[in-house]
Amino acid sequence: MQEKVETVEDLLLAATQSSPEIRFSAALDRLSFKGKSYIENTAQFYGPVFIWLQEYLTQVAGKMITVELAIVYFNSSSFKVFMNLFDLLDQAASSGACQVTVNWYYDPDDDMAQEYGEEFKEDLQYINFQLIAADSGDESPF
């Protein structure tokens, strides 16, 4: 009997004013967050995102995963969400089974986003965490 290989469907969530666009592709091993994150009920919003992620991370052996985050503003409860996200990825990379690169994009005028990127980075041992200054132009980011 042939073993059935379950594939993880892509996860796509459109951005709203207070939640980021989320594009997770298991086929491309690429996870991206783009926009703002200041929903009041972060647990409710990110619950399905973490369920997807946990399932995806069970079948990443030998893969190179890229995570792109271009978050122009996030609230304090989203900080905890991102911290949990990076911990999960760091754990997945710790066995050496997969490689994880995180690209943290920040506006050079936004010292908060840069500071947060540094704060996340200093706790991670196995992720290749890149801080990338990306000018948003004259347009105010929020």
Binding site: E40, N75, S77, F79, D107, M112, E119, S136, F142
Partner: protein, 198 residues
Amino acid sequence: MSHHFDRSKEQQEGMRFGSESLIPYYFKQAEADGVIFCMRGPMSQGVVEMLEHVLKKRTAQELGDHGKSLRVFSVFVEQVQNIIRYSEERVQLSAEGGDAGVGMVIVGHRQGQFYVSCGNLIKAEDQPRLQQQLQLLQGMDKDQLRAYFKERGRSPAPVGSKGAGLGLIEIVRRASAFDYFFTPWEGGLLLFTLQVTI
């Protein structure tokens, strides 16, 4: 018609409509305090999103600095989300059980600085814990706040906290100054005010 600004009598009796405009009193006060907007009522995520645009316009105009504009917005979001979660005065928003905290938010620009002042009712028994937390934060420097924020981010949310328990720390990190007050209110409650300058 007389234009007096002593409202103590009206406040005792409740506002009389029709015989006098409400505007002169509020206009004068708002002008003196540089008020950009002021709202009292049920706070919701929708209120935060609606006011984001107003705030974005004004901070861009006055500051022209993305970083500082975001700090003002951050304090605003955390302050209002604290009212949503922790106000003792609550109203039902929908039949499905969603409720919102009632409170008041004033955002203004005065003497070259933005401020976000918020107030909501709390139980008297919640004062010691809140006051202790604020005193602790007041005594911390930038690096201590950064370390404390992370430490709390790593630990489970404290008892009585409905968010990550990080909101107050974030507010203090972005503030250039802050002050808080507990004003005795009806029904044995306290009106808790957190006044933040950015």
